[in-house]
Amino acid sequence: MERIPILKMGEYLLVTIQVDMHDRLAMTLQDDLTTRIVDARAKGVLIDISALEIVDSFIGRMLADIAAMSRVLDAETVVVGMRPAVAITLVELGLSLTGVRTALNVERGMALLRERIRERSSE
């Protein structure tokens, strides 16, 4: 069965979504990610959606759910690379994904993750 690869980079997990996912694939990703967060004791998850031309309510909610689930598992999530047309459409759709941290690109996303993790460990 096809899966979206999850890369481990130290304490971080990096997911790059490059295909137009059908719903089953999205659910599999969610499952795989939560499992890997626990197995790898990851502190941060970076999801790169710069290749996605469409983010509909299902995918949008998947991202929000992943962010919430990882938080429960004590990891931070950042979604990066949303395309302008996608952002405008999502907002029009009524989904602003308020619970999800976002950044312009992978570099910024990693910086944000490091900062957030540092903040949390000093709490």
Binding site: H22, I54, V55, S57, E92, G94
Partner: protein, 134 residues
């Protein structure tokens, strides 16, 4: 309104939903829609296709290139013989507030389209038509 091109597809599986997104995207590109409008109509199609699959038990979609008084548009009609929606207005309002499933798909699709119409009743299935004008 004249129909210039018409194409029908089944909505029976998750893979169909992906194929429909791509077909609508292609038609929108051919008709010269700008990127944001393309994204909106494809996203609306995705919402409605999913609704048809999950709430309607599967159905079909007709993708049409239409023309009305010199203006071109893309029209999508999603039909199913499913259980139907007892109170459409309520469903659309609910979806907006709870952010879940059927309602959000319908109200979302409406917001992303120029024209929106829906016919549905318990036991009579559902038909949703959206149009995006250039």
């Amino acid at each position: 309104m004249t129909v210039l091109l018409s194409d029908q597809r089944t909505v029976q599986s998750a893979e169909d939903v992906v194929a429909i997104r791509q077909a609508v995207r292609q038609r929108a590109v051919e008709m010269g829609f700008n990127l944001v409008d393309q994204t909106k109509i494809v996203t609306a199609a995705s919402e409605l296709a999913r609704n048809t699959l999950q709430h309607g038990g599967g159905g079909r979609v007709t993708i049409e290139a239409v023309e009305s008084f010199g203006r071109r548009g893309i029209r999508l009609t999603f039909e199913d013989e499913g259980p139907g929606i007892p109170d459409v207005e309520l469903a659309m309002k609910d979806g907006f507030t709870t952010g879940g499933g059927l309602g959000l798909g319908l109200s979302g699709a409406r917001r992303l389209s120029s024209d929106f119409s829906i016919e549905s009743a318990p036991g009579k299935g559902t038909r949703v038509t959206i149009t995006r004008w250039r």
